[in-house]
Amino acid sequence: MDQPLSLKLASLSLISQCKLQNILALCGDKKDLIIDPTLIKPLERICGVTWLRQNGIDKIYKMEPQLGTTANTNRVYFIPACVQKYKCVLDQISSLLSQNSSLADLGCFHIIIVPKVLCSYDSILESKGLYGIVKLHSFSWELMALDEQLLSLELPFLFKQLFVEQNHSLLSSVAMSLWSLFHVTGKPKVVFSLGKLSASVLDMLEVYNETYARDFLSSDSSHEIGAVILIDRNQDYPSSLLTPATYSGLLSEIFNINCGHLDLNVKHTKYKKGKLDLGIQEEQATDKNTVMTLDSSIDSLYGEIKHRHFSEVLSVLSSKAKLLKNEDIKALGIQEMKHYVATKLQQVALFKQNLVNHVLACETIISEMSNKFENLKLTETDMLNNRNKKSNFTFVDENFGTDIHIYNSLRLMCLLSLTQGLSYEEYNTLVSKYLLAFGYKFLYVFNNLVNAGLLIQPTSIKLSLNISNLGNLSDRLPRWQSAFQAAANKLKQLPSQPDKVGKSSPSYVFNGGYVPLIAVLCNTILSADSLSEVVSKLSALSDLKVGGTIAGRLKDGMETLNEKLSNMKLNTDLEFGCKDAKSMSKVLKADPNFGNAFPLKPKSVLVYVIGGVNYAEIAACDVVQTTTGSKIYIASDCVVSGADLMLAAS
């Protein structure tokens, strides 16, 4: 058990493999795998083709509605938990059955659903008359180690479901991933949750713990993770909406990144694709691009530059190239040459390849962003600090009227709305321009953004101004500080002089404008001497809860789910796996360091963002890790950029 944690985390894929093996064993001997294209990359992180062969997979097909006959009668479909895709598979099976009804009795249809089979899927199966003919399997793969200290569940559809549709059907998968993880790392002594979904995850986790407790899970607290922080994405939207200034952050703005693999498409970038289509754009080339793996353990050069402010990256690359140049192999003797070829050549070739890729990526970033970057950053910082509201709106309005982008323009609108607010007229001006540019059919997008809490819809003064709420008129008058600024100032998220911020401030990831909330949380928790200090420093956060083994001691006796439910009132939180931080004040007054969890030991934290983490946040945590001399592990259901959040609402 004394293996380094990073190696253990990378090895989680073996548990996933074992889980998959277990399912495949139930699907007959020789079978075809029909896989949804979005699952290919994640599956590659779990197993290879050879392994699949060994487990009875004969042929592999991409799932498409028109898929004809395949090599074997046994079919194993492999799809994400998405009703449309699920129904598409069922339709395909029905049509196969209509051609050959004898297949019904063979038990030859299996659907593996990632991360789990939902109850409603069973009823759909039944209603289509396929119950008993098709077998459904849940495959909850473990967190994947995409990079050092970066774990992801790779479920990119989760944000849309959880926050836009407010459908929490797959939330238990997050709980399940933590439950498995804690079997490997040990249970953390203290867990903080911020947001409703995070609290629910802790409640569900406690249900798993209670059910499967027995004598398996050691009750010792973890020797490797001092604290776990769970946070809902909607607790810090600005971090997603702001334009990142780090290399990896800008990479995710420009290129498609899937499961840690970057598609180095320098001609048709993600950025270009979102621009206004006037029907005069050039045809798209379909040639395959180079793929870069964003993993420091494979590409050490990436490890060196990923968190850097973009302005430094090219000079680092240049110095690396100079080193290479100086390594003159012509001067080597025959023996030395042999040695070089045997030991270093391959490594050097790989390094050169990586170097070239990073330079190409940098050039693309410069050519696409450079002349907009500065004004954009200035405007964003003004929005954060509630300055120059009028000119900020003009900036956004001009952007909507000219070089509008299908996602990034919306993102600016959302940021302005959350930080400084939009009037009814301003809001509608932007909506009109957007719909003229991309089509009226996108009218629903704004409702989705509002539902997700990314946008605040102002009400018409005409509609809302009646006698009864004249008292609220003061709410509409301009204020020097919005709710956002009030909270952000309390948590010291807004540096007073953005242009003077050094590299030791996590805010450098947004050009000195903003410290991501997760960096604030990590910093507070890693440097606190007592639980009471944490709770008081984070008192501006209304949704903070405390769980983990120390919360267990707060339970009145050994309260089971049964008892808890019977004592519960309508619309209150269950607090089965965690406790409201504010309600602990009495306990903390008597014993400020209740549970003896602080100062943290070991000095390491796992942050789990529900709804997607981004590269800027990861870089900001890296700074905190250095300044506090600790380890911060980041986990999420996906690594996403701000544009991805907008896409989820579309």
Binding site: K19, C47, V83, K116, E165, H168, A321, K352, L360, K441
Partner: protein
């Protein structure tokens, strides 16, 4: 090209990204490295699986075999084989726990309204959406609608799950009934709208009919958001225009897309004609800024610079040519540059900028040399002009212009 030259040319020297000067050019780095070979793999799986390239710990040092069994059991949602004693007591808590664990369970033993309500509240409290939706669907099956709606109206989370379910299943009528009953007619309208554009996207007539109904039944009702209603009404107008135009490539495309088409194909059409760009502009109330932007891009991309110039420049009362557009000057300049407009047009554009400082900055950024030279001469800044001359290509026209300006005796240089 020399290293320094490369970085100091305004094309590559990005404004916001300041670099050390002692760096190699990307081209040089590329030369030291090698051109990417580009993996050309066409199989479903790429051959280089990540898992094989890394040394991993053996499974048994991660978790004990017993724990592994437990993890597998939890994924399958099966009951542990050992204790076959099924819970005899089917309490609400037992049912909910089975739901959360993904084990199969029958809800039908919960027949009283009280236990149904407890089931719903318990599922909401735990927060597992799968359990919440299962219970809601069970309530729909076993209680009359009015009772279910009553229960849902005070339970937001459960309601959202049901809305999401109906929406994803395409059950618009039920969704509309539900939301209308709860007094949320506006939202119902948007869900309907979303459903129509998703399902009727390719049938213009049917889409028009549905939208007309939507306007009549929801969006034109008192209390409705007037702007939303206007947007849908504008949509109808555009679809009607597209029906008239009868071009499949314009089908359900955006207003600006249609405008671009008209600019390209029917530019000289007189106002009043259905296909004239002005008609589309007026019908859809396209703001002047967006109109200018489309016109600029369409004509520039098809190299009709004469049209661009007649539209965006005019002679002032002194007979000088000046730029006139709704597009803010800096944005216009940046775009003209990307579109590779003539130096002449760029110069006219940058000359429009009143502040000498801004004019100089932009002229340098976009390499509009005559304007830089003229501005520096006006500022009487000989040193700056001398330095600037050095960056120009000797023997070029602008180089000579700079030299002549420096020799001009009528300028009283300040330095």
């Amino acid at each position: 090209m020399d290293d320094d030259d490369y970085w100091n040319t305004s094309e590559t020297k990005a404004h916001a990204f300041s670099f050390d000067d002692d760096v190699l050019t990307p081209q040089e780095i590329l030369a030291i490295g090698q051109k990417p070979s580009g993996q050309k793999e066409d199989s479903v799986f790429s051959s280089s699986a990540i898992s094989t390239s890394r040394a991993l710990l053996p499974l048994n040092s991660l978790v004990s075999p017993k724990v592994l069994d437990l993890i597998l059991l939890a994924q399958s949602g099966k009951d542990p084989t050992k204790d076959t004693k099924t819970d005899t007591e089917q309490t609400v808590a037992v049912t909910l726990k089975r739901l959360v664990l993904g084990r199969n369970c029958s809800l039908h033993i919960h027949r009283s309204l009280k236990s149904k309500t407890e089931l719903l509240d318990g599922a909401i409290a735990i927060g597992d959406g799968n359990a919440i939706l299962t219970v809601v669907l069970f309530l729909i099956q076993t209680l009359n609608k009015k009772l279910v709606y009553e229960l849902l109206s005070s339970r937001h989370t459960a309601l959202n799950h049901y809305i999401s379910f109906l929406h994803n299943e395409g059950k618009v009528t039920e969704l509309t009934d539900l939301l209308t009953m709860l007094g949320r007619s506006q939202e119902a309208a948007i869900y309907q709208f979303h459903h129509y554009v998703k399902t009727q996207g390719n049938n213009i007539d049917s889409l028009l009919r549905k939208l007309a109904n939507l306007l009549a039944n929801h969006l034109n009702q008192p209390g409705a958001d007037t702007h939303q209603g206007k947007m849908v009404a504008d949509y109808v107008k555009l679809l009607e225009w597209q029906k008239f135009a009868n071009k499949s490539e314009l089908f359900n495309k955006s207003a600006l897309h249609c405008l671009a088409y008209c600019c390209a194909q029917h530019w000289s059409e007189t106002a009043g004609n259905m296909m004239s760009p002005m008609t589309v502009c007026q019908r859809q109330q396209i703001p002047p800024l967006q109109y200018d932007w489309v016109v600029l891009n369409v004509h520039a991309k098809s190299n009709k610079w004469d049209i661009v110039e007649t539209l965006f420049t005019k002679k002032d009362w002194l007979g000088r040519t000046t730029v006139s557009s709704h597009i803010p000057i800096e944005t216009l300049l940046a775009r003209l540059c990307e579109l590779q407009a003539s130096k002449q047009l760029l110069a006219t554009c940058v000359n429009k900028i009143a502040s000498a400082e801004d004019r100089l900055r932009l002229a340098q950024m976009y390499k509009i040399h005559p304007v830089v030279i003229e501005t520096l001469a006006k500022q009487k800044d000989r040193i700056a002009l001398t330095n600037y001359k050095m960056t120009l290509n000797p023997q070029s026209e602008v180089y000579i212009l700079a030299e002549n300006t420096l020799r001009d005796n009528s300028i009283k240089w300040k330095n």
